[in-house]
Symmetry: C2
Subunit: 161 residues, 2 copies
DNA sequence: CTTATTATGGATAACATAGGTCTACAATAA
DNA sequence: TTATTGTAGACCTATGTTATCCATAATAAG
């Protein structure tokens, strides 16, 4: 279980875009140079980000990419879900096994429809809880928060000199 | 990014073992039957769990598996790390890129050894924070806590009748 | 001691996904 | 119109997941 390299590239690319907000568009050449990835591969990732409305792209001379919304409204979770997809982190593979009859439906016999989550597998329930926990953390960190942190580091270093 | 089916099988198998604590050993046949997985595949998973000291195995007639320690000392994290491995969830793939020079080393110039984590990439820092957050949650849930929850469900249903 | 039973570990294979390249095409500013 | 830049698709390879099968080792019971 690991995040893909594409997620790494996407996050760093977005930070680069946020950092270069002054000049409108950043070309794939500049981006791939900064990250050390091939243009062809990175452009695929950028396309995904564009399709999901994270960045805007303009073709043509002087074209390139820019953030589609303020950097403080682009969360880590946004980016991760674009690249990794939105399937849940954990799924019980065989919900009709004897095990599940025991764990999930033991307490949910006849017509127990008033509580819908009741016959969910307990293992899955814990794992979904973990997922929500993780997502909450990832929602609290944005491209902007990275830029702020980098700026703080920079200033701190300047003071020492 | 998803947990593998093996993790699912491992968790359910351990819960089965915890539930059948009375009779000493549970054979692979009973386990695979309960989970709806082939014996050959499940035995691979059980071997891993044994190598990491989660379960004990005895071969021979009347052999089988049992938990190697109390169910409340087997956390979800333990199981996941055995099956999924212990690599970190996220690694920056190219820490020598221009991007990283900006993000990580901007504030960590000459001889800055007194703070070791200082020149870590900020993206990686957030992701490692997310990982620790997730791990903390997974440490708080054990095989025993699932058994307790199942027991509660069972009792609750009994009261209703 | 022999035998039936059970777990172990290696070899192998189908399949999906990640990671990456290349090329033809579309859009746009100069 | 043309040079430049992003888009989309085909394509390839390596790796990991999910599995199966078989020979071997260990063990309890007879």
């Amino acid at each position: 279980m690991q995040f893909s390299k594409s997620t790494d590239y996407a996050l760093h690319a977005l930070i680069h875009l946020g950092h270069s907000e002054r000049c409108n568009n950043v070309g794939i050449k500049e981006l791939s140079g900064a990250l050390g990835v091939s243009e062809s591969y990175l452009s695929k990732i950028m396309s995904k980000l564009r399709q999901d409305g994270i960045v805007r792209a303009v073709p043509g001379v002087k074209g390139g990419y820019e953030l589609a919304r303020p950097a403080d409204q682009i969360t880590f979770l946004d980016v991760i879900q674009v690249i990794e997809g939105r399937q849940q982190l954990f799924e019980c593979s065989n919900s009709s096994s004897r095990q599940h009859l025991l764990l999930a439906e033991e307490g949910a016999a006849q017509g127990d429809q008033e509580r819908p989550g009741k016959n969910e597998c307990l293992v899955e329930k814990v794992m979904n809880g973990a997922e929500q926990h993780l997502y909450q953390y990832l929602r609290e960190h944005t491209v902007q928060s990275i830029l702020n942190e980098a700026f703080k580091r920079c200033k701190h270093e300047a003071n020492k000199k």
